[in-house]
């Protein structure tokens, strides 16, 4: 068994429940979700408004599959081109029509997400389930932008998607048991497991994590320690694989900021006020790994701390 990634058909099992899965948004998470689905034999329709983003997405998938095979010291079950052939990269949302399940991963801004849901809801099949891969926005709120509240849930994937076995699943106010069961099935097909939590902005993971990352950024702003030292303390004292600032870079400093803004707006609690240094870095275009520079540099050159 090659890590459970071969399509069920090859293994003589029943056909998959979901053959066509729509993925909206080809950013960091959308690309990972699309790659994972393609690796597990699903036909993927990956939609983004920017053609340029789709090109980058294709290259990312190819590169990720190669590097995974290399670094995990095993040959990929399938060649990158075979996996890529299962993904339709398009800017046309009409192509989402055949989707039996849809995972939305657009930018963490309520207005943008609302526009997306209002445009895909009339296009997609009635039976299609919408999973919002949102960092912090209320699932119940998202469901209200559709006419299928019982078929909407949250599926908060972790980064990098193909390598993380656990997903935070969020039950919206109207989410039906049937929807949750279907979601569990899809996760199983993707080689993953889910933990179901209730709907409150930030759910479990981000409500705590955003505070940690934000406070770590304050440490750098207040010059208590350098970014490198903050991360090293967490890694060596607590055994964390990555320090909070590296994590911020990985998630994307823009995403961190938008998530904090959602939490601040949702709870009206000062503890979620974004750190001014974070805002400054995002305004300056330092978004982390996704665009080559955050607290560290990722230009393919050596990583070194760049924040003051």
């Amino acid at each position: 068994m090659t890590g459970g990634r071969l399509p069920d058909l090859f293994l003589g099992r029943n056909a998959m429940e979901f053959t066509h899965v729509g993925v909206v948004g080809a950013g960091v998470m959308g690309v990972g979700v699309a790659q994972n689905l393609a690796e597990t034999g699903h036909q993927v329709i990956l939609v983004d408004i920017h053609e340029e983003q789709l090109k980058k997405a294709r290259e990312s998938v190819r590169s990720n599959i190669r590097m995974n095979a290399f670094f995990k010291k095993k040959t990929a079950a399938e060649k990158p081109d075979v996996i890529l052939s299962r993904i339709l990269f398009t800017t046309d949302i009409e192509q989402l029509r055949p989707s039996e399940f849809l995972i939305e991963n657009v930018v963490e801004k309520p207005q943008v997400k609302e526009d997306v849901y209002r445009s895909i809801d009339p296009i997609c099949k009635e039976s299609c389930i919408f999973a919002a891969n949102t960092s912090a926005i209320s699932i119940t709120r998202i469901a209200s932008w559709t006419r299928r509240a019982d078929r909407v849930l949250g599926m908060h994937f972790m980064n990098p998607v193909p390598l993380k076995p656990m997903v935070e699943v969020i039950r919206g106010f109207h989410t039906s048991e049937n929807t949750l069961n279907k979601a569990r099935l899809l996760l199983e097909e993707m080689g993953k497991e889910g933990i179901v939590v209730n709907d409150m902005p930030g759910f479990v993971s981000n409500r705590v994590l955003m505070l940690t990352v934000n406070e770590a950024i304050y440490l750098v702003q207040d010059q208590v320690a350098s970014a490198e030292d903050v991360d090293r303390l967490f890694k060596t004292c607590f055994g964390h694989k990555m320090g909070p600032l590296e994590t911020g870079d990985l998630i994307g400093l823009d995403t961190i900021l938008y998530s904090l803004e959602v939490l601040y707006e949702s709870y009206n609690d000062d503890k979620f006020r974004p750190c001014p240094l974070l805002k400054k870095m995002v305004y300056a275009g330092l978004h982390g790994r996704k665009n080559g520079r955050g607290f560290y540099s990722y230009e393919g050159e050596a990583s070194f701390a760049t924040a003051s």
Binding site: S63, R66, M67, N68, A69, F70, F71, K73, K79, P80, Y298, G300, E301, A302, S303, F304
Partner: protein, 84 residues
């Protein structure tokens, strides 16, 4: 070959804190290499030496030591020369 190895050593220096990387040091055994570094190393080699690292080249042996990386680069250069 020496100049190429020096460039690679220079690139890797920041990842290998307080460690003078020798030509035959196994960079994976030293424990500093994670998947992000592996990706950055591959990208660096492709950009710096204007080569394409094919799927077949992605073998640990080729990147294990500075000597091995130097040898990989020589092979690539020889292939290009042969095709010219």
């Amino acid at each position: 070959m020496e100049e190429k190895k020096m460039k690679i050593r220079g690139f890797l220096a920041r990842f290998f804190r307080n460690h003078e990387l020798r030509d035959d040091d196994d960079i994976f055994a030293l424990g500093f290499v994670n998947s992000l570094l592996a990706l950055q190393l591959v990208n660096f080699l492709q950009k710096e030496f204007a080569i394409t690292i094919e799927d077949e080249d992605l073998d640990f042996e080729n990147f294990r030591t500075l000597n091995n990386m130097g040898a990989l680069l020589e092979r690539k250069a020889a292939n290009v020369a042969a095709l010219a």
